[in-house]
């Protein structure tokens, strides 16, 4: 399906990543946002508050992030596409509702413009240290999807993608940018509405008597959606539930439900994951990076090439689910993988796990507050190439 032109600001723009995320959400069909101000993410909802009344949308500034993160879930069950936006401290407060969205299979999007942490940390400066929190922050076993844009253009494109994946797999999807990408202003080209693919909400066509709210359907084993007010007498609960949505707190039901919530992603990892690879074939060293760090790595890679090192790049556009298969394919053919990130060791653990000893993995940590010095990444490339 194509995007509804009402929300699509077709044209060439000079805009930052935060604003581009908002335009991506509107293009994807989002007509509801709830938020609580937090640097460096606030511009996303500031723009939405300006755009919403002119496109048939609603914005509400809530009393805190706990509220914002469940207000959007109420809106989704009311029948619209919805999202919220935050940064580290707010993201911590939203964890409970990420779990609720997973358990109730509520399609929704969370945009996290990462800053340095822990706690209040570095409100105005970048970090990439919420990557594990995005994956594991709420309690219980579950799967989510997380996308990592490295430019304002990608903020637009991946926010559209995030909504599409959330509707397809019925779960919360995260757009994990960082302060630099959020505040970086570049050219953003927004295509015409008929050039933007949008996943519609899959509302059931069954009648209320035969419809079961959590009955797995189709290839992805995701249930069909319904909204309040249409006579389905929905029951939605965060308790372990059966296909009707009724609480059923037994070990067999827990096994069945939680396994399905995970397998709908685990069985589709290669379909969901996107990576960007350059000159990996024949490389001695591959730099694995994501988000803003991939832009810095580009400089280090070009310096390494000047020194005659055979170096390739692997950019993780999807951080979660982690593309194990991609790392597994590369690891046996290289001397090593270099993993720079703005944290003291998060995605590198996944790289190590997937490489499983088949090559060296060298982490290039950075506590955040600025981006890496390309020379530091270059040194790591040289060390692995040696």
């Amino acid at each position: 399906m194509h995007a509804d032109p009402t929300g699509v600001l077709t044209g060439s723009h000079f805009m930052d990543g935060d604003h581009a995320c908002c335009e991506g959400a509107l293009a994807a069909g989002a007509r509801f946002a709830a938020g609580y101000p937090i640097t460096p993410s606030t511009e996303v909802v500031e723009r939405f508050s300006q755009r919403a009344p002119k496109v048939g949308g609603t914005f509400i500034q809530m009393e805190d992030e706990l509220a914002a993160s469940i207000t959007i879930l109420g809106a989704v069950w009311g029948g619209v596409k919805a999202f919220t936006v935050t940064s580290g401290p707010g993201f911590s407060l939203m964890m409970e509702h990420i779990g609720y969205a997973v358990m109730t299979e509520t399609p929704c999007v969370f945009i996290n413009v990462q800053r340095g942490g822990p706690s209040t940390g570095l409100p105005t400066l970048p970090g990439q240290a919420d990557m594990m929190q995005a994956r594991w922050g709420s309690h219980g076993d579950y799967e989510i999807i997380a996308l990592c844009p490295n430019s304002p253009q990608e903020c637009f494109e991946l926010t559209v993608k995030a909504f599409n994946l959330s509707e397809k797999y019925r779960l919360p999807v995260f757009v994990m940018l960082d302060e630099v990408v959020g505040h970086m202003t570049e050219k953003v080209v927004i295509p015409a509405a008929d050039q933007i693919e949008v996943e519609p909400r899959h509302f059931t066509t069954k009648d209320p008597e035969s419809f079961r709210l959590f009955q797995p359907c189709g290839e992805e084993q995701t249930p069909e959606m319904a909204r309040a007010g249409d006579g389905y007498h929905l029951h939605v609960t965060g308790l372990t539930h059966d296909e009707r949505g009724y609480p059923n707190m037994t070990p067999p039901m827990q096994d069945k439900l939680v396994k399905r919530l995970c397998t709908k992603i685990r069985d589709n990892v290669s379909k969901i994951t996107i990576t960007d690879q350059h000159e990996v074939e024949g490389a001695d060293v591959v730099v694995v990076s994501y988000g803003i760090t991939s832009r810095v790595a580009e400089r280090a890679i070009s310096l390494a090439k000047q020194k005659g090192i055979k170096v390739g790049s692997l950019r993780l556009i999807t951080a979660w689910p982690f593309p194990d298969h991609v790392i597994k394919a590369i690891a046996p053919n290289v001397k090593g993988l270099v993993v720079p990130e703005l944290n003291l060791g998060q995605m590198v653990r996944e790289v190590e796990r997937a490489a499983a000893g088949r090559c060296r993995v060298l982490h290039v940590p950075h506590a955040g507050g600025t981006v890496h010095d390309p020379q530091v990444i270059l040194k790591a490339i040289q060390e692995v190439a040696r």
Binding site: D4, G29, K54, R227
Partner: protein, 292 residues
Amino acid sequence: MSTETLPIIPPNPVEEFLRTDRMPHIWCPGCGIGTTVNCFVRALLGSKTDLTKLAVVSGIGCTGRVAGYVNLDSFHTTHGRAIPFATGLKLANPKMTVVVYSGDGDLFAIGGNHLIHAARRNLDLKVICVNNLIYAMTGGQTAPTTPGDVITSTAPYGTYDPAFNLPYLCEAAGAVYVARWTTFHVMQLAKSMREMFSKKGFGFIEILSPCPTLYQRRNKMGDGLDAMKFYKQVSKIKHGTPTAEVGLTKSGEIIVGKFVDRERPDYTSMMQEHFQQELGDKYIKVEEPVCS
């Protein structure tokens, strides 16, 4: 052998509003929550509310389970967050009547911030608060509504911190309709609910409800029937009493009645009027949820 024909018993009129396939419910003998649900359904029976367009949103706790038993669009959310969920539901789908049905701990402790903000905004939500003066689901711990000098599982020597006066708090925060009843006052309660449903804006009804298992037992206050006798004995119907004067004590007078019934524009009307004025033709009003 001939088959014996059972006499046809007229079905209880409340049954069609309940998910009878989920019975028996989890509530204890003598608990008042079922009584409040009965009153709620009877209020709906006598009202003109379109039941297809009625949603019940609950939080967590004994009263939080109400959402699971009513045969309506019903949402059992997270602890304390029924009101923000209801906020999203109402704003996205403005034709819905949204009832928030939850307990005192859920609405006033963990969810207190959301409640006062929804009242401040005057969101068109109908809040039914079953107040059993205790955290019952988790085993009888002190709640922000537990009166002084009461034994709870986390106050084994008795409570000493002051309790919230719920009607006073709701009025101060901006509610347009505030009433209090007990589960003894079933006729008045159903009538009051009906009145609240027909009024636009943030409405609030507190219902004093017995918890024989976890409140009364520890405090030697008898069973469910004793609670009814107690309510009958100490309740005074005094409509219009200033809410500052309706605070509760362990064994003192319970003032019940309608305390607040006033007019304030509700959130959605204010928003729509404001955007109409500021943006004119550029404003696209949300009438129905659009999902493309």
